[in-house]
């Protein structure tokens, strides 16, 4: 099957999911309102307690770009991770599997659709936070920032694929796990605060979670500061390098591994669903 055919399938899935999304305007509006009120609540708290002498602009921007990373994480979970399960519940997953579409195109189409739909959330979130926190938005390295955003997307996408496979098998039992993972991500990947504000014991946990480096690299690259999780100079296999370089290496490897493992697991689970007959059961 050629690239053109795959592209056509990808665009078909994106297009029709967008059509369906536009028929749930309440849902979309409530999503924006949900985001608005959470950001407002946290901003009120931040403004109450912020110390004047602290570098508000940098901290504010770390929060803003951390939030963007959170939106990508959430959108992948919701539209890819749970998107596949929603298709299963509705009975349309079987119908799609009946067509000659390659299995890897379906989640990719959902991811593309998800990113498009959540761009509005990202844009509005940046504006809201900038206003609430009263800080200008900093974009010092737009090209590198875009690349790190791409890597972050790949990692989240790979994770969402794994989740899609997992929830296909376990159905509702996995929802609790997903909620826990969301909370753990928010807590330990420093989404709404700089890493350096965390107690050392919890920061140690953040350093074990590879996703933290993706968030750290993304927002520190855009803002144009040194990464928070690694020191300025590090030694990698005896070779002296910067913490930033090492983070680039870690995050790039993670992106590749995440997508590979995610797809392998997802395709295997689809295969198992066909073997055990639960493609349409929920």
């Amino acid at each position: 099957m050629g690239v053109r055919e795959h592209l056509r399938d990808f665009l078909t899935i994106m297009k029709f999911n967008l059509k369906i999304e536009t028929r749930y305007p309440l849902s979309y509006a409530s999503g924006i309102l949900n985001m608005f009120f959470w950001l407002l609540s946290f901003s009120i708290l931040a403004m109450m307690l912020a110390r004047e002498t602290l570098d508000r602009v940098i901290i504010g921007n770390l929060i803003i770009w951390g939030f963007v990373a959170f939106i990508v994480f959430q959108s992948m979970l919701a539209e890819v991770g749970f998107g596949i399960v929603r298709l299963q519940r509705r009975g349309t997953l079987e119908q799609i599997v009946l067509t000659p579409v390659s299995y890897w195109i379906l989640p990719l189409g959902l991811a593309g659709f998800s990113l498009l739909v959540h761009l509005i959330f990202i844009f509005l979130g940046i504006i809201f936070l900038s206003i609430f926190l009263n800080v200008p938005i900093i974009v010092r390295n737009p090209i590198c920032g875009l690349i790190t955003f791409g890597l972050l997307f790949c990692i989240m996408y790979g994770f969402a694929l794994f989740l899609a496979g997992w929830t296909l098998k376990t159905k509702r039992a996995s929802w609790a796990l997903v909620n826990v993972l969301q909370i753990l991500y928010m807590l330990f990947c420093g989404v709404f605060y700089p890493f350096k504000t965390m107690p050392k014991s919890l920061l140690a946990i953040s350093r074990i979670i590879p996703l933290s480096y993706a968030v750290d690299l993304f927002r520190t690259t855009i803002v144009g500061i040194e990464p928070e999780l690694l020191p300025h100079s590090v030694s990698l296999l005896g070779v002296a390098t910067t913490g930033q370089t090492l983070e680039w290496i870690i995050v790039t490897m993670m992106a590749i591994i995440s997508i590979l493992l995610g797809y392998i697991y997802f395709i295997r689970t689809l295969h198992e669903a066909k073997k055990k007959g639960y493609l349409a059961t929920y």
Partner: protein
């Protein structure tokens, strides 16, 4: 005639877990197919007839690559369903049972556009094809409404339309007339015959005996995961040559006793009963295969009266596929 479908010794088991305490589960195995073999020729309407739970949907899902068998082989249009699923999918149209096969927040037309695109029907051809299918099945009145507003019958029709969208030479239809009223069912059966005249091969499953008799060139009867008989409807009925069936609808509390007594009559070969819903309400239906209804009918009436049964009607008739099923399985469809 070329063999379009060939299934060899298909076995399929399902594992389920039953609760056995607060957090414990007990494993249970359901044998859905126990070594099914069949073949379908090009250009014929082939029916898989059997009661609910017989394994019809399991078999159709295996043949359409949705389910993997535990053992056995199956070939559709010469392609192995396990090793070459994509080649199979490109060349078949499938209508599965149930209403959950469509996007409710899309219109009927949009559903057809979506699936047509996924079946790689070129856009210009797809537009014409959609119009043809809408016209063929008479969907004009509702095809541009959201599916969530459809009645059950309309959803079934749209699912049928979806199966036709890629103009595949082979169609799989799983209980195509379930949830349809009698008028629509007759219409659908006419359409199926028209599709066969266009040169398509059709594999359909049904639990409605009249549908199988009316539509199918050949029928396989399946019960409890096994094919119990296969052939043309007339050929299957010829196994009961010289025999007739007696059917009686009644009300009674002693159905088991009555059936036992009828079975004991000389010349009665098989008897079974089921509960049916008729214009009179709920009733017991007893059907017996016998040699000479002229002699046996009065004796059956005597047994019924002696047991205090209220008889709604009793009639002798020529054997049907239902009697073939009864002959092989001892049950009614």
């Amino acid at each position: 005639m070329a063999e379009i479908i060939k299934a060899e010794n298909i076995v399929k088991k399902y594992e389920t877990k039953l609760p056995a305490g607060l957090f414990r589960r007990k494993k249970k195995i359901v044998h859905a197919l126990k070594g099914v073999s069949l073949s379908v020729n090009e250009g014929e309407i082939f029916g898989l007839l059997g009661p609910n739970g017989a394994g019809k949907t399991t078999l159709i899902k295996i043949l359409t690559t949705l389910l993997l068998p535990d053992s056995g082989k199956a070939y559709v249009l010469g392609y192995d369903v396990i090793k070459q699923p994509n080649e199979v999918k490109k060349r078949i149209g499938v209508m599965l049972m149930g209403e959950r096969a469509l996007y409710w927040k899309l219109t009927g037309r949009e559903n057809l556009e979506f699936f047509g695109a996924l079946y790689k029907v070129p856009p210009a051809i797809l537009r014409d094809r959609i119009e043809y299918v809408i016209d063929f099945l008479g969907l004009q009145d509702f095809v541009d409404r959201l599916v969530e507003t459809y009645s059950s019958g309309q959803r079934v029709l749209l699912a049928f339309a979806k199966a036709l969208i890629n103009d595949a030479p082979l169609l799989f239809l799983d209980e195509p007339t379930v949830a349809l009223d009698p008028r629509r069912s007759v219409e659908i059966r006419r359409k199926i015959r028209e599709l066969r005249e266009e040169g398509k091969t059709i594999f359909l499953t049904t639990h409605i005996m009249q549908e199988a008799e009316e539509l199918c060139d050949r029928v396989a009867i399946i019960d409890e995961g096994k094919i119990v008989a296969m052939g043309t409807p007339d050929g299957l009925k010829s196994a009961l040559r010289g025999r007739s069936a007696v059917e009686v609808d009644l009300l009674t509390e002693n159905v088991e006793a009555i059936v036992g007594q009828i079975n004991a009559i000389g010349g009665v070969h098989r008897t079974a009963w089921s509960i049916v819903q008729s214009e009179r309400g709920r009733a017991i239906r007893i059907r017996a295969i016998c040699d000479s209804p002229r002699e046996i009918l009065p004796r059956i009436v005597e047994i019924l009266l002696n047991n205090g049964a209220k008889i709604y009607y009793i009639k002798p008739e020529e054997p049907t596929l239902e009697d073939v099923f009864l002959h092989y399985t001892g049950k009614l469809l």
